[in-house]
Subunit: 332 residues, 2 copies
């Protein structure tokens, strides 16, 4: 059977197929939607939070992911940036680069994954653009709204702050440490990394407790890199005391030894948890909110007045980060 | 001398170079900026207008354009979508796909062109993302604000509406009709197409006169395609009576003959003018606003109650459009 390729269709046909799967209807008080290029929105809170994330499809294509998983992961990453700043994600715009040689069914699979994620996160797809490209890519821009008068930045940590890490870490780190061939044998690695999820309820906690949260950042390029970046921008060291939440299989592998757990948990990426630097006096209140929403979290340490860096058992620990142009690099 | 390639730098270094050239500072009442992934904004008018446009760098690379011109053109196109809906463009987010083999100086040139346009249009660059890619591409998302209670859609034209076209047409059409080799000999073609400009003042006219403007659309894929799309979505024909504004050199070539002028003016693209379907009783008011801002415009015709299509001298005229996947295609 002849496979239908994207290049067999006209631009309008391709856009129409994507739009039908993705684009949300106008809401009350709105007027513009597809096929108009622009959308109109009414603010849902006093402050707008926007971000943009882009990916080549290949860079998200783990051996055990389908194109639908890639679409899911791309939207998850974009939403996560807004959530961690206290923005309740409202809508997104999506631009796709599509090779003419791509099978239409593969494009549809990718789009279905984006659509799944949009429904899951209750984020409206407002519109976007489609382009002929030699390689498939996705760019996503997210618009959210927040009641926070001062959304926390990455660099506001103060000595004494409790460092809370939400989410579960170590599965992607296992793949980094042992390679994909070994990782693909581990069901739990696949389970945790196939369709990463961010928790949008975190936006409510951040917007309500913005005065208590000195700094926040989502984990997209590895927990170690996130902690290091926050430490660096805050001009303060972070004393790591405990590992974050990890899959039980990793606890077994590490025999619950913190140093071993950290080895896996600090490298990785795409976990899309949040790192929060929280004033001590507010820790209990925020912890109980996280419990209320059933969001896994751990207190991994405390901000100190020592120079920037991550410290464990009195020693500075090296931090690796995945660099798109250099692959895994040692940062410090 | 060894040329520095993008792939010689780390991701953080590349992003930092781009951010320094592009990213705007926080404004009064705002808090987040680079290196944070998200930005916070305060609404500047009751309604938000958003859009997203993306391009491969090659698709914008006319033989007489530099990479800086390409950057300029990309932002112009993205801004234009918001302007024509009555949105005053406020800020943008920019994602770049960059091949490691690209010379750093070329990337900087591209970014400088975006920066030039951002200054020219008074649009803030709020942030974005950078990705390793096999081919260079740009995705731009624009956020604007409007006081218009009902921004005009593409499909609201009513019989009797005056069809106003702003901007100057025919230079890109000359390149389409005669090919780049001949077009490059014509200074006026280069002048009109090297760095196309959209007129942001149109946003003020549209937001103030939204009740008088039944439909609006910007011209990005050729004036003929724009007129045809509006006609089609409105379910009404457009009677073309006059050519739009054209360069004087084309008037000479065509000996001021309308059919000849239309041949060049209807094909083309990237002119980024606006097509407005205006209620007859409001035509004078809107024309005097356009004159006040010194925006070139022409009345090209009128909406009729005949079936969708463009009619000239009683005959339906065929409409070509540039399709990314099929190149120039006949639509009707």
């Amino acid at each position: 059977m002849l496979k239908l390729l994207v290049g067999n269709l006209t631009e309008d046909e391709i856009v129409s197929i994507i739009a039908k799967k993705l684009v949300s209807r106008v809401a009350l008080g709105e007027h513009l939607t597809y096929p108009d290029d622009a959308r109109d929105l009414l603010p849902r809170a006093p402050r707008i939070v926007v971000s943009m994330d882009a990916y080549t499809v290949n860079s998200l294509m783990l051996p055990w992911r389908t194109l639908s998983d890639v679409g899911w992961s791309a939207l998850t990453g974009a939403v996560s940036d807004v959530v961690v700043k206290g923005g309740v994600p409202h809508g997104c715009l999506i631009a796709l680069g599509v090779p003419p040689s791509m099978e239409l069914s593969h494009l549809e699979e990718l789009v279905d994954g984006i659509s799944d994620a949009a429904k899951y996160y209750d984020v409206r797809v407002l519109g976007g653009d489609t382009n002929k490209s030699s390689e498939a890519w996705i760019a996503i821009s997210v618009v959210g709204f927040t009641t926070a008068r001062v959304p926390p930045s990455r660099g506001g940590m103060r000595p004494g702050d409790v460092v809370i890490v939400t989410g579960t870490y170590g599965a992607m780190g296992y793949a980094v440490e042992h390679g994909f061939e070994r990782a693909v044998q581990e069901k739990w690695v696949i389970e945790y990394t196939k369709r990463p999820k961010t928790r949008t309820e975190i936006s409510y906690i951040v917007e309500n407790y913005y005065k208590a949260i000195d700094a926040s950042m989502d984990v997209s390029d590895g927990l170690g890199y996130t902690l290091y970046t926050m430490s660096n921008l805050s001009g303060r060291g972070i004393i790591i005391k405990e590992a974050p939440r990890t899959p039980e299989q990793l606890v077994e592998i590490c025999r619950a030894e913190t140093r071993c757990l950290l080895k896996y948990a600090l490298v990785g990426g795409e976990e899309y948890g949040a790192v929060l630097g929280v004033k001590q006096g507010w820790f209990k209140a925020i912890a109980s909110e996280l419990e209320y929403f059933n969001i896994p979290f751990a207190v991994v340490g405390e901000v100190s007045s020592s120079p920037p860096g991550l410290y464990f058992n009195g020693e500075k620990i090296p931090v690796k980060r995945y660099d798109q142009f250099k692959a895994w690099t040692q940062n410090i």
